[in-house]
């Protein structure tokens, strides 16, 4: 039986498990029929180890054990899910060469591979294959730790200077910037590795509305951003969230659309097959492969911007004309000015008009009015009227309101059992 190892070779292997344990938190072994029992147990044990401080165990009604990763993102100094990025497995030679080479090269001297290998034996009494050392030097040159230049027929390596040695006054700024941007910017785990390098942690910042699971999408996000920058076509694999079916197709990536309110991030693409704009959640993207350059990229991008004017969320709808939505709100202007502020700051491209004292009308045109309904519902208790050119959406809104009225009008035994 293979020995248990906390470390992993491929990030993708654990992405789904970590996300499920964090986002859902009630799944048990039975929810992973495609994984073998040992695979599930190993992944669960890794997760228990990586997130020990945030693990919550429970048993469901059929006595199946579930494991959840849970925390209030407002009360932590760093995203614990960054831990996954710090679990890449390595060999004995990898770790020894890491420390020996950095120690040896720290004097700033330039050396060729043979000299380095000789000095490794002399200083540390450890013998490595020359090729192993060469490969590691090349790897560290690509990672930006060493620079290389050619002298005659030989490659000569020099370590880059540590900024804190050359510019110690940057320390505080780097520490605070990395502490803040590790959450406030994409690829925050890189900020976390900077804090690791500086041997410090975030002492001064906390974050509200921080959706930690984003970090698990970063491996597919980078090639998408690279393709956007290079104006390339890509082949993309999407896993359907509910059915699990995987679909692969070619498209042109145009924009990463981020919702700061719901914690979802999407890639907006122009599909090559049907020439339509579509959006997919990043957590459904399994793989991205770059293809050739797209000569019409700027035209597609302009098309996106044109359509974007009428987008409420991520849907471009299926009609040629945008849908019209109108909501009338009743409020007390003297005491409830905050509601007017809410409508203004959250209403995106909609218009707000005062139609009479204490009554305001919010109107908007958008491709898919169904996307607006959750926001409209947040004004429950204030909505004088709601109309929509898409009558299905309007009917559904009022039907849902009736369901809620029925739901909360009844005094159920459920609430009683909770002490309510």
């Amino acid at each position: 039986m293979a020995e248990f190892n906390e470390l992993i070779k491929h990030f993708n292997k654990v992405r789904t498990y970590v996300r499920d344990f964090y986002v859902y938190g009630f799944k048990s072994r039975m929810d992973y029929p495609e994984s073998g029992r040992r695979t599930y147990d190993n992944e669960r044990r890794r997760i228990e180890s990586w997130f020990a401080d945030y693990i919550q165990y429970d048993y469901d009604s059929s006595h199946k054990k579930s494991v959840a990763i849970t925390m209030d993102s407002n009360r932590i100094d760093s995203n614990p899910l960054f831990n996954v990025w710090k679990t890449k497995s390595f060999t004995n030679n990898d770790i020894m060469l890491h420390f020996f080479l950095l120690d040896l090269m720290q004097d700033g001297e330039s050396r060729n591979v043979d000299t380095i290998n000789d000095e490794l034996i002399e200083r540390y009494q450890v013998l490595f294959e020359v090729q192993t050392v060469r490969n590691k030097l090349m790897e560290y040159e690509q990672n930006g730790l060493f620079m290389v230049k050619k002298e005659g027929r030989q490659h000569v390596y020099t370590a880059y200077t540590n900024w804190l040695t050359s510019h110690p006054d940057l320390y505080t700024g780097l520490k605070e910037a990395a502490s803040y941007f590790q959450t406030a910017a994409p690829f925050g785990f890189i900020g976390s590795t900077i804090l690791d390098s500086l041997r410090c942690q975030n002492d001064h910042f906390r974050f509200r509305h921080d959706y930690l699971a984003h970090t698990l999408e970063d491996e597919v996000l980078l090639p998408l951003l690279t393709a956007i920058k290079e104006k390339q076509q890509i082949s993309i694999q999407i896993k359907h969230i509910r059915s699990g079916h995987i679909n692969e197709f070619e498209c042109v990536p145009l924009k990463i659309r981020v919702s700061t309110q719901t914690g979802r991030r999407y890639i907006c693409v122009r599909r090559l097959a049907d020439r339509r704009l579509s959006t997919y959640r990043l957590d459904s993207v399994q793989n991205v492969s770059p293809l050739k350059s797209e000569s019409d990229y700027d035209r597609y991008s302009a098309g996106y911007e044109k359509n974007n004017r009428y987008t409420w969320g991520v849907s471009f709808g299926c009609r040629r004309e945008p849908e019209q939505v109108c909501m009338q709100i009743s409020l007390d202007e003297m005491t409830e000015g905050y509601l007017i502020n809410r409508l203004n700051r959250e209403g995106r491209h909609g218009q707000l008009n005062r139609i009479q004292p204490d009554i305001y009308e919010y109107t908007i045109e958008c491709w898919d009015s169904a996307e607006m309904i959750p926001w409209i519902r947040t004004f429950t208790g204030r909505i004088l009227n709601f109309t929509c050119s898409n009558k299905q959406v309007e009917l559904r809104f009022w039907h849902d309101m009736k369901r809620m009225q029925k739901m909360y009008a009844e005094d159920t035994s459920e609430t009683m059992s909770l002490g309510g």
Binding site: S61, A68, D103, Q106, Y180, N308, R345, E346, L418
Partner: protein, 325 residues
């Protein structure tokens, strides 16, 4: 550029710390285990310590008695920033908020240091489509206030703050600034600050954008302050309990939406529904109430009473409005 690399591995961090201690004085396996337990994962010590002691990772030399170990390295290792880290920093240079953390001279120095580095991505590739429109404006006054606050937090210095209250009144008060909170949703920075009362410290949350003037008092607080305790005090006594049906992909949507809260989810086998308990900050109850209402009838609040009554009150008020219209 490789995102998932062993250079950032937690084990490397643990070993670097062990080597650092072992370069000053010899270190025992128990001390190594202490470091691994503090900086590693739950089971890391079980792997790291045997590898170091058995010589698979020949980074330590035993002393004469063979009980303690010294580092084979000549000095503590300082790893230069990698290309990935530099590219990320280069991208941040395009973000106006970077100016909050550096002086103009330092920003210029960073630009020089990163002159040959390509940004990791183009920030314009992102569109934050639902963030609020009254976000903080990062101008020179905001920057100056932010930097003074950050310095005061670091030094435990009290500050005299003149700021506009929510009702628009100009207030002046002396505070001990402790933490800065940021929300991507509303794009606002808030200051967690303490003020002294006869029976101890009390906490206020101030919107930094509303601060008009800051004066340094030159008065430094030496007593230790546990900020976590203050935020802990505002945690609800009872979680709200909601029942989620799986219509319209509600489970997926709610779980994502509420993932930033501490929560507990159970599957109720008999009904095919889910019960979720959410622990929240009492000062933000209205925000949670609005979030719950947004899900409509696929989410039903079961308790506690105080929260349920607020939902009932809004739904009932809506019913009356609809009838009267």
């Amino acid at each position: 550029m490789e995102l998932f690399s062993e250079i950032y591995n937690c084990y490397y961090q643990v070993v670097a710390r062990i080597l650092e201690e072992a370069s000053q004085a010899t270190i025992s396996p128990a001390e190594m285990a202490r470091i691994a337990e503090k900086y590693g994962y739950d089971e890391s010590a079980l792997t790291i310590i045997p590898h170091l002691l058995d010589g698979d990772w020949a980074l330590l030399t035993p002393d004469e008695g063979g009980k303690n170990f010294a580092s084979r390295l000549s000095q503590p290792v300082r790893v230069p920033f990698t290309s990935l880290q530099k590219s990320w920093l280069k991208t941040l240079l395009e973000d106006e908020r970077i100016g909050l953390f550096f002086t103009d001279e330092q920003l210029e120095l960073l630009r020089q240091l990163l002159a040959d580095t390509a940004p990791l991505y183009d920030p314009s590739a992102f569109q934050y489509f639902d963030h609020y429109q009254d976000r903080d404006v990062i101008n020179s006054s905001f920057r100056k206030h932010f930097q003074l606050i950050l310095k005061a937090i670091e030094q435990h210095q009290t500050l005299k703050l003149s700021y506009y209250s929510v009702k628009g009144r100009l207030m002046e008060f002396t505070y001990l600034p402790c933490r800065i909170e940021y929300s991507a949703k509303d794009g606002k920075f808030r200051l967690y600050a303490l003020y002294r009362r006869r029976n101890g410290w009390r906490m206020d949350i101030l919107h930094i954008g509303r601060i008009l003037k800051i004066e340094e008092t030159g008065y430094y607080i030496e007593e230790p302050i546990d900020m976590d305790q203050f935020t802990e005090d505002s945690l609800c006594q009872e979680p709200i309990v909601i029942e989620i049906s799986d219509d319209r992909n509600a489970l997926e949507r709610t779980m994502l939406h509420f993932s930033c809260y501490q929560k507990k989810v159970e599957r109720i086998d008999e009904t095919g529904k889910y019960r979720c308990s959410i622990y929240y900050d009492k000062t933000r109850e209205t925000e949670l109430l609005i979030q719950v209402l947004a899900f409509g009838p696929v989410v039903r609040v079961l308790g506690p009473d105080s929260f349920l009554n607020q939902v009932r009150e809004r739904v009932s008020r809506q019913q009356k409005l609809t009838i009267s219209f």
